[in-house]
């Protein structure tokens, strides 16, 4: 499973609807499209837990799309 697929699995895990997950363009910002202000921190928490990383305040504001998350995760590993 590639990183984007794993991230989409995490989206499902925090309760994002299947149709929204499948329709998410990895290049587009997640906020306001696939996630609201409640989902976003839950997604960050799920990513931190899955990959054993800590996403600091400053980085979290740069991680806007699934591609951003993928690049961050791959850079961190």
């Amino acid at each position: 499973m590639n990183t984007i697929d794993e991230l989409k699995k995490l989206m499902r895990k925090i309760g994002i609807e299947e149709g929204i997950v499948n329709g998410t363009d990895p290049a587009q910002p997640l906020a306001g499209r696939a996630m609201d202000s409640i989902d976003y921190p839950a997604f960050i928490a799920a990513v931190e837990e899955r990959y054993g990383i800590i996403i600091t305040d400053r980085y979290s504001l740069k991680l806007r799309s699934l591609n951003d998350f993928m690049n961050f995760i791959n850079g961190a590993s």
Partner: protein, 504 residues
Amino acid sequence: MSRSNAAVELLSRNLELHPDKTAYFCGERALSYRELDNASRHFARLLQKKGIAPGERVMIVLSDCFAFPAAFLGCLLSGAVAVAAGAPLREEDLTYIIKDCGARLLVSHGELGVSRSIIGDKVMAILCNYDGPAEDSNSCDQVSDPYHPSADDFAYMLYSSGSTGQPKGVPHRHKSLLLPGDLIGRELLGITSDDVIFSSSKLSFAYGLINSLTFPLRFGATAILHPGKPEPRAILDIIGRRKPSIFFSVPTIFTQIILSCAQRQLQLPMRLCCSAGEALPAAVFEEWQRLTGLEILDGIGSTEMAYHFISNIPGQAVAGSAGRLVPGYLTLLVDDNGDIVPSGSEGSLLVSGDTSSPFYWNLPDKSAETMLPDGFIRTGDVFVERNGFFYHRGRSDDMIKAGAHWVSPVTVEDALRSHPAVADCAVAAVTVGTLIKPGAFVVLTPGYERTPGLAQELRAHLMARLPDYMCPVRFRFMGELPRTQTGKIQRFRLRELDAYQSPA
């Protein structure tokens, strides 16, 4: 005509100066100052016809639309006390507030589904559409002689979440509605009749009420009302169409707008951006400034004080600071013994000023604990002051301020314990992606295993029982919870644990 009735103060000057100027935009529609004055006086008359006497509480559960200011000001014109409660209230909170404030009349939208079982047979209702009351809408009957309040009469009451989960009624006098206009609107923000004001925080909150009612009406400006959820795309759409000069919001919304932006730069029409409700992280301040070229003026206030008493000022905002003391207020930072701490040391914040609420409704013990005999109010916030700037350091109680909402850990813990997998639990503030959110620490019932699926199940369990903002964003499973010798949960240790423990 009385000049001490806040509604008269806010309406009459605009009616004389520019009756046809737009007071409010909502969606594609506009409401002039003349129409607002008429609607408010009509509403006041409607209250009189319903037999509502001066001093009686009238509960307003409306979204941000033309009906809200008309109903609110109508209450004040008739002498009734407007009890503004947020539309997304839980049924049990609504039931509690109606009973606690003793309202005989509820003003709400039909679609809110306020059922007869909640309000009971003794409570009358006025159902409104976005423009005003659906009943008697064609009547020209209006109050011509507004109520003349005494200095002690209450004008409005807001409900603030309590540490035990029960909302606390916070009554305010007429001056509490007017003074923030002068002390902050005029003196700090320089609001004039040329301004177009947009607040993403709703009128039923202290912050939104002053932003969208006092500020526009005090200065003959125009405000934009948005009845829907404050989602970033809707907000950016409104900003693009209406071009506000001042935008009031909260850190969660600023963060969501930043995160929703695909471009490197965002051109916005505002001259001022203001934040309150929770401490604005320095990272959000800096990223917003990089993205838009605008600073965010953070401030801190409380429902008990009606509005801000510490605020940054335009051109001199400091990232990570709530700002300086607003002239007209007094603050003290004290230690556990009540002694004043030196500059640079943490202390519990006490505040005093002319907008302070005298007590909590029907809560004499809590009032005595919070509203001190010397006129100071305990805010429950811990601050440090350096060179005149105040920096938020947390709460002295266990309450969590998440997305401008108060979250009582007790309420979330009660809901969590109703799941059979939960043997014991505690809820504490955790920081995720710059923002403070509730986090859950769970001891499992024997036979249940720590799996990601179980965390998902617990989250779904809470989402079905609590408002979204109360639901923990992170679940940590533990063998036992840290407790004091007397058995009290040590939430500060949970916060430390979350901050320093790498995710599993």
